[in-house]
Amino acid sequence: MDFSVILRAVGSLAVISGVLSVMISISEKVLNNYGICEIDINNGARLLKVEGGSTLLNTLAGEKIFIPSACGGKATCGLCKVKVLEGTPSGLLPTEEPYINQEERKQNVRLSCQVKVKGNMKLEIEEELFNIKEFICDVEDITDMTYDIKRVRLKLAPGETINFKAGQFMQFYSKPYGKVKEVVFRAYSISSKSSEHDHIELLFRLVPGGICTGYVHQALKVGDKARMSGPYGDFYLRGNCEELIMIAGGSGLAPIRSLVYEVIENNLPHKMRFFFGANTLKDLYYMEEFAQIQKDYPQFTFIPCLAFPEAEDEWTGVTGFVTVALEQQIQNGEGKEAYLCGSPGMLDACIKILKDKGFTDQTIFYDKFS
């Protein structure tokens, strides 16, 4: 074949595609350039200067404001709602319509993954979301609480603080270890006091085959760096009542401990009863601490329940499942709110009993392990 034919074909294709690419690049520069846009969040609480042209969700994430999103910006989960008060020339997009109800339409709620930053904007986002940050912490201490539960105390980077409501959770990222090559993140409730702004404590119960708890139990060492984001969740103290009924099993104790401290540190008037379920004595932990709180604060009652106490445990407390204790010790739901954290099986059984006693969906709050 003649060499010049090949040269002609390749050359002409290259020149034509080159010219077309230059045209596309120029139009992108012109059409997709929105310059520097100012985003005003919650009436001046934060002012951002960002490069326009990207979606609001990604732009905010770039500024370390994490709007929850499960689908990653494909308009299929409907979680990433924000109020856009100013700065969108267009109305609701067809892709958003299924997720925004009439009430929200009036308030200018939009899906942040569908709204593009094209100019100065004014937004309103929930204070809690505003608080969600990513943290790189130092592992300060790892303590065995029981044979399968470890408490990890983490120190935030100097100058960083966290504001969370007692009961909320963090997403903790594992690192590759041993044969596990992937990075996963799982949710763990914060067990430390909400008044402590430079440390957080998480409880990890070893889940057989679990990647994240396996990482913490086998690979994590004091002095390591750990990555997490949060705080998330709507499991926190409402307090429109006289008495708080708290129920936990296993590492479900974590958010309850935080809640108890929130009540006593803020001198709230609520009475508290904490039912803690375990199988045998070696599953119980934080016993001295809760006994001490009970001594110092008469408003707090601690009721550990052992389902299967062994002979050498010499157990004198409540024997049986938590449900048995609930059945016996709670008369009705009047003036009470219930806060539950634990395995789905235990929670469902407890919620059933509580509803029979007159608790409603408005007075039962729970954080279910899944």
């Binding site: 002409s12 034509i16 077309l20 139009s27 059409l31 997009l93 892709t95 593009k116």
Partner: protein, 196 residues
């Protein structure tokens, strides 16, 4: 080069040689985006714009690049590249100026690239050896014809939303039937203008 008046080509490509109703090209988006009149209008406009520009540019490239370099065997690739690049630019422009329409058209906007009516018009233009002005009006006329057809279908389908259709023929089936009837109606125009 056939000496057909550009005016004849213009009207013929809208009415007697309509891309959809006589050539049945570009059916995919025609059927999918025709449930709402307003959206159909938007797509019709976009297709018309792309058709007019790309037909003319492809005419220029054919006569000034492809023929002199004797690379006719690459012509399809080059046509498609030109069309794809124009749709890209159009997409960016619509995202900026008409975000509502951009979101409504969704995937069908980039899919204008593979709308066979657009490549079809370019190929007909080459086969029929049109001149510059003829190509320009042929592209414009074909686009307007496509736009007219999708708007007619959308208008009828909007009316049909309130009609009671026998089960099984609602949706694409009834759209095909309507298109068939419209095509037969358009045969009535044949003989007024002839370009083929």
């Amino acid at each position: 080069m056939p000496q057909i008046s550009p005016i004849v080509i213009f009207f013929a490509s809208i009415i007697t040689s309509n891309m959809i109703l006589s050539n049945f090209l570009g059916m995919c988006s025609y059927l999918s985006i025709s449930s709402e009149y307003k959206t159909a209008t938007g797509l019709g406009m976009a297709v018309t714009l792309v058709l007019t520009l790309t037909t003319f540019i492809n005419w220029a490239i054919y006569h000034f690049v492809i023929v002199p370099l004797e690379i006719q065997y690459l012509s399809y690739i080059i046509y498609i590249m030109v069309i794809a690049a124009f749709v890209q630019i159009l997409e960016m422009a619509m995202d900026r100026y008409t975000p509502d329409l951009y979101a409504k058209l969704g995937i069908f906007l980039p899919l204008i690239t593979v709308n066979c009516a657009i490549l079809g018009v370019t190929l007909f233009m080459v086969i029929r050896q049109y001149g510059a002005l003829q190509s320009l009006v042929y592209g414009l006329g074909s686009g307007l014809g496509w736009w007219l057809a999708i708007n007619m279908l959308a208008a009828i389908r909007e009316k049909l939303k309130k009609a009671k259709l026998p089960p099984g023929i609602s949706g694409p089936a009834i759209s095909f039937i309507i298109t068939g009837i419209m095509a037969m109606a358009f045969i009535g125009f044949s003989g007024i203008f002839t370009i083929q």
